[in-house]
Amino acid sequence: MELLAFGKTGWGDELFYATLMTVAVSITAMLVGFFFALIFTPLKLSKYKTLNLVGNFYTTVIRGVPELLVIYLFFFGGSGAIMYVASIFGYYEYIEINAFITGSMAIGIISGAYSTEVFRGAIQSIDKGQFEAAKVLGINKFGQFYKIILPQMLRLAIPNLSNVWQITLKDTSLISVTGLVEIMRQSYIAAGSTRDPLFFYSFAAVLYLLLTYVSMKLINKLELKYSRGY
């Protein structure tokens, strides 16, 4: 137990901050994912074949390729890509991107592919009459989406989004390969310096279980809120 003490003697505070880091990366990645879903869901639902193709390409490739490979692509290719863009604008110095940004971008793109599928499914399962009724009432496109489609879609999407959240949360453990100090990386460091990997990795497992448990409870509440009247 003294291994988990706070302060200089134990790893308690380090692991606490690492847990916060995991939560921060997961939330950022989830938001990045929503951003991608916002772009690609309309593409997948579009009338135009070419746009459909682009949307399908994104979700198929990302969901068919291991997360670790995507992370390596970002880790090794991220600063190269940024430097290439910078060189167009006449900046030739070395640019290093922060591990947090690389990690949450990589995980975000992955979670975005799953979110896109969830949103597509949710929108498709809304009754066509709702769209037509909104049109008949003369509500503009913006109002149609935000006041009529979105609230109904959220109710249908939340259970599946909670799965996406769980996947995202667990995927953040893979960012440890890039050196970002989250739960997994911190446990690796602690295990290395105390030669007690069994304890620290088991403790990491407990932390992840705790995170999934707490988030499930919160999501259940959200689900209740959005399914009022059903």
């Binding site: 291991p66 692509l73 090794f76 390969v177 446990s187 069994l198 304890f199 990795y201």
Partner: protein, 225 residues
């Protein structure tokens, strides 16, 4: 784009794909039995057996696969007693550690898939079997299991694809699978995009094959023929 690198790295990556496929098939094979075993425990009426099976699937589904591999590969070696038993022959090999971790992981997901498949079987079918005087054992093996397999095929297909992606984590315990070799080539040539396209292409090809095989099986085992 460095096409030469793509062409020269293709055979190396293809060789590493064999390791990926070996890991995948071994863990799916053992995982299916483990999953079936725990699915049966979940259906047991005894609350302790039931809770035990539930906590197994909860723990393995609630923690990242990476943690599970690390506990088995780095953690278990720490227990002095284990080093003296025959288990150490297996546990000192990263290859077997990876297979054990993947098996336990896919077993947890498979048990959930099979459990829900068993639960959706209509009681009438089992009652019909009983009233025909068929023994419980035969009802289970000849009626419940075939129906459960058909019910769970779509979900199990997804699980196979998830597991195929999961095998990439073997590269974190020094195994040179497809992702491991891809990382090695990237870190020596600093050409991530080219290698990603080739390695990702191989993964996508495998996903495509698995997807279509499952689709074929679904058609084959569906009622409407």
């Amino acid at each position: 784009m460095d096409f030469d690198l793509m062409i020269t790295s293709f055979p190396k990556l293809l060789g590493a794909t064999v390791v990926t496929l070996k890991l995948l098939s071994a863990s799916l094979f053992f995982g299916l039995f483990l999953g079936l075993f725990f699915a049966i425990l979940r259906l047991n009426k005894n609350i302790f057996i039931n809770k035990f099976a539930y906590s197994y699937s909860y723990i393995f589904r609630g923690t990242p696969l990476l943690v599970q591999i690390f506990i088995i590969y780095f953690g278990l070696g720490q227990i002095e007693y284990l080093r003296t038993t025959f288990l150490w022959v297996i546990l000192k090999e990263p290859y077997w550690c990876a297979i054990i971790a993947f098996t336990l992981n896919t077993g947890a997901y498979t048990s959930e898939i099979l459990r829900s498949a068993f639960q959706t079987i209509k009681p009438g079918i089992i009652e019909a079997g009983k009233s025909l005087g068929i023994s419980n054992k035969i009802i289970f093996y000849k009626i419940q299991i075939p129906i459960a397999i058909r019910q769970s095929l779509p979900a199990y297909g997804n699980e196979i694809i998830l597991m195929m992606k999961g095998t990439s984590l073997a590269s974190t315990v020094t195994l040179m699978d497809l992702t491991g070799v891809a990382k090695y080539i990237i870190s020596t040539t600093f050409k991530p995009i080219e290698v990603f396209i080739v390695a990702g292409g191989i993964y996508l090809f495998m996903t495509f094959i698995i997807h279509n095989v499952i689709k074929y099986l679904e058609k084959k085992y569906s009622f409407q023929q």
